[in-house]
Symmetry: C2
Subunit: 144 residues, 2 copies
């Protein structure tokens, strides 16, 4: 599988884990020693940390959330390293008081890597929430 | 110079360019083919794009802005590739109507690379604005 296809599959699996609210499935696409920073600056380390973080939010503020991938851009850096921008939108997120938030948009800024013939995995994850009228995925990007 | 020191110097030069409101100096630490995405989803490509974007904001909403680096974490990925989290705070930013905004905080999520013996440069730049009470730079990070 070409890198681009493998990376798109990885992002699809992330989305599937999210929409099943399945922290184990979602965390499985992260590297053992991944770094995860949320849109509000929460940081967790390792696949184990990613799993625990999502297990909590999938029972909490994201229990009814639905994630849509609006566009995806892969920027190769080395044969086994790429930066990936994933433009997303979301409905069903709640605030800390439990109230539904309006639909949200953002960008997940990933660095994905692979070791030898191993699978592509997310090593670095940052999430950015952008205004709803933000310019959106750059021209030419297709849905992930 | 060891990668960590060279990368800290790069971030220091970014800050110096910012605080001088000098788009040419700031853009000089970006790769020719850099990708820049602002905290609100604006995207520009290339050192030339970075320069033009900052020339505009340094005469506009950021004309009185002062950038402080609160912490910096370098995550080596390959010998010539690293991810860098730069925690920042800012005063003096204005909104589109020209009114002063309250002090802001955020994280610049960079991917820096070098070619051969060339300088480390910013290849990928995403900015995240975080709440003022966000957890902040992870323990162990020092000021950049």
């Amino acid at each position: 599988m070409k890198p681009d296809a493998a990376i798109r599959k990885l992002v699809g699996e992330f989305r599937a884990g999210w929409n099943a609210h399945d922290a184990i499935r979602l965390a499985a696409v992260f590297a053992d020693d991944a770094e995860f920073t949320s849109w509000r600056g929460d940081h967790v380390g390792g696949r184990v940390g990613v799993r625990a973080h999502h297990a909590a939010v999938f029972e909490g503020i994201l229990r009814d959330s639905v994630l849509t991938i609006d566009g995806l851009q892969v920027r190769p850096i080395r044969p086994d390293v790429a930066a990936v921008d994933v433009w997303w939108s979301m409905t069903g997120a709640r605030d800390d008081a439990g109230a539904l938030r309006p639909p949200r948009r953002g960008v997940m800024a990933l660095v994905v890597t692979r070791s030898g013939e191993g699978p592509w995995q997310i090593l670095i994850f940052h999430n950015v929430e952008v205004p709803r009228d933000a310019p959106g995925p750059a021209q030419g990007s297709g849905p992930g």
